[in-house]
Amino acid sequence: MTDITANPQSDQAEQDRLHQDLDEIWGNPRGWRALSIVNHTTIGVRFLVTGLFFFVIGLLLAMLIRTQLAIPGNTFLGPDEYNQVFTMHGTVMMFLFAVPILEGLAIYLLPKMLGARDMLFPRLSALGYWSYLFGGLILLSSLLLDVAPNAGWFMYTPLSDRVYSPGLNSDFWLIGITFVEISAISAGVEIVVSILRARAPGMGLHQMPVFAWYMLVVAMMILIGFPPMILASLMLEISRAADLPFFDVARGGDPILWQHLFWLFGHPEVYIIFLPAAGIVSTILPVFCGRPLVGYRWVVLGVLTTGFISFGLWVHHMFTIGIPQLAQLFFSAASMLVAVPTGIQVFSWIATLWLGKPRFELPMLWLVGFIVIFVAGGLTGVMLSLVPFDWQVHDTYFVVAHFHYVLVGGMFFPLMAGIYYWLPHFSGRMPSMTLGRWGFWLTFIGFNLTFLIMHWTGLMGMPRRVYTYESGLGWDLPNLISSIGGFIMAFGVATFLLDLFLHFRFGEKAGENPWKADTLEWATQLPPTAYNFVSLPDVTTRHPLWDQPHLPKAIANGEYGLSVSGHGRRETWGVDPVTGRIRHIIHLPGNSMWPFVLSALLAVVCICLLVSAYTLAGLGTMAALVVCLRWSWENGAHPKAAPDAHTKPDEPPLHSRTFDGPGLWGMGTTLISNGSLYLSLLFGWFYLWSVSPNWQIPAQNPLNHGFMLAALLPALATTVWLRRVVRQLKQKNISRLGLHLWSITVLGLLHTLLLVMLIFEAPLKPTETTHDAVLLVMLGYSLLHAVVGVLAAGLQALRVHWGYVGISAPYEPKIVLQWWVYTTTVFVITYTATVLFPLTWKPY
């Protein structure tokens, strides 16, 4: 075992050996085995590169749009091609570029900024990446096959249902995007838990880098905001494939439900995109101003406020559908209100500029461009929050201009600043000022030429999504100018890409901490090693590199914690989420092919669903399930998870030997997201009951009261028994643990079988009424959870026999308990909402 903590003056040879040992544990394999890489640096870079690839595709689609609209009566694209192009432009930019690239940047940066060696669920990061790549490619393939989605990036029903979109176009969107969203949710879980549990020792919440605050809020927003859209996509795909009428008015559905679910996701999505970019600004600006961010606490307050209030705005996308005026005013007021926390951040940036000594390096150009464009976009946003103005310009190019100002200004410009700022990190080289300036000015001028003019095009009444227009309406010149501007902007982006390409070959070598930054990511080597830091320092300040400039050397010399490598484990500190005090050592899984295999299988399932090969899709799902189980087997006390479980006498225990591992937090955050999906379903149920214009209910409730109760009892018993087992494990006072867990599995299985019987016994007619279709989905949701719960409990029983779970490695049953508490709670709520609640007014 190599341990140099006791000897900080160790010689160079010893340091080299330590680096070599760490490299052996953390290093990336080459060739086809590179598919198994899970470390956050590589996964983050893969996200970034893939995101840039999709960005270029989205940009090319935008150029097609601008070419088509450059002159009136143009026949460059036909109406159907145009519909595909603008739908895919929006879809690619929102789902395949904006969110994933920012997630990738966060995955790359966060552990380095927080003083950790990796994210806490590296295999989940890898799964997220592969799902993103495969889902994106499936979606893009539709363009080559000329069946790309063509109903707008928002897929409004009934346009997107199978009556009005009978081809595969909408299916590609629904299945591809749902697949990609696996990536968003996994990144959300990963980011929340890693920020809260894997920081440098001593780094309390109040000392976190401000970027971590932004990403914490964004990750929670992803976990809560994405599930409504995932649910809506699943419902629409089921309605297309199996004719369940969730959005069909004639059978009791309501297309407006789609709009609610979509915008419940869609509006927070804007802030999910903006906030990480604002986090980049708040990180970089102080560095180039040479002083701390003014009003750190105010900024955190602003970010938290934005995170909440952004969920109260979704109806402002629906002002024209005929909801009561008072309700419109609630959303109008909330829409104005959200500008305030954003304003707080803008004032903080201006104050930092004012009080600092700004250095106008390349990233600063993009930051200044961001402030100018984003503030203008914010102002038109406040205009649009006013209901009468919104009615006036709804569905015109004014709205298109507004959201490009917000999204390109609010996301793309800070992202570019960030890429230039962290470029030395990726390459070990400094960016070129000359090409960089050209890229910026072409993009800035081109952007404003395109979209500033577009405000007037909209005010002159030009509607969105028309593939051409007649001459003489006053739209000819502004459209031509916008198109010219669009191409200038494209040249700007091309210059940036050229700069990037040349940079890796000819860029000047970067020295240590080249921008004189304050955050810990600059304490790594440039480019960094797979393990980030040789040793993990204590950090009790917001600006570690300003306060302790010697830190990078001391870290590299192995002068701090966990600079031991002989045990063969990948490890980082597990800390208290609030104080940052060390609680345990978290050991992390090594490279694994399972994430890639699982994503590949899911891709096969998606393709099978697209071509209606349902048997094959079923087989693929079973195979994916087996892979999931195998994956989860290599956890905790399994030798692959921790080859050597010994720690030094003065060190805390490994997390798998405590009751407090990151898995618990991971399950908790996953269930928050899962709960958001279920609440969306419940919202749909009550919404349709109260608002659907043609709601139809059967003469009798198809769900049998007694049967529901009978199914509930074993679920309750499973949960209570499991809770008892966990308590006894905690007290280290349990015998025949395996038998307990097998019995619990049997009880869970009984619940599952009763649910299956309930579904088959109930006289549901899901293709005839939305009422029955929703009931079926709710029962199916409970059944799915019961099946997973049974498998998880059975797996625990098996792991007891293999010695991976027991008094010395006790915490996994607690994770399964969380699942069963959730499953049982959901079933109780379903029972209340579908059986007990209707009894109060006897509609049947």
């Binding site: 307050l301 406020t305 995170g307 909801i323 008072l326 005013l329 909330a334 109260s690």
Partner: protein, 115 residues
């Protein structure tokens, strides 16, 4: 919950969110089931209920903001700094929740509910 408890960072705006769901959901359902007469203007039972809920929420948020503010620790230790950070933010976020409740709730005073 302690004024310097980390959950104070989400409590204030979580209450605001629940209030927001309650008034929007309540309004929508009430307008479907038993809409008040349009001639009654803003003075009707539904607006009264929404207004009372708004006032109660406002009072709760302001009370909690004050509680957090009073708990701000002026000490200079690391623990005191951490508590000060949480309590100050908790107070601020409850206050923001209160302002948001008031601002979004004002239309209840002047608008008939179901037009």
């Amino acid at each position: 919950m302690r004024p310097a408890h980390p959950l104070q960072l989400i409590a204030g705006l979580a209450v605001w969110s629940l209030w927001f769901i309650a008034i929007y959901g309540g309004l929508s359902v009430a307008c479907q089931i038993a809409p008040p007469e349009a001639e009654a203007g803003a003075l009707n039972r539904l607006n009264l209920m929404l207004g009372l809920l708004t006032l109660a929420t406002l009072a709760f948020l302001l009370w909690n903001a004050r509680r957090c503010w009073q708990a701000i620790n002026q000490g200079d230790s690391e623990e005191a700094r951490r508590q000060r950070f949480l309590a100050t933010l908790g107070a601020g976020l409850h206050l923001v929740g209160a302002i948001a409740t008031l601002f979004v709730g004002i239309p209840i005073l002047v608008m008939p509910p179901c037009l």
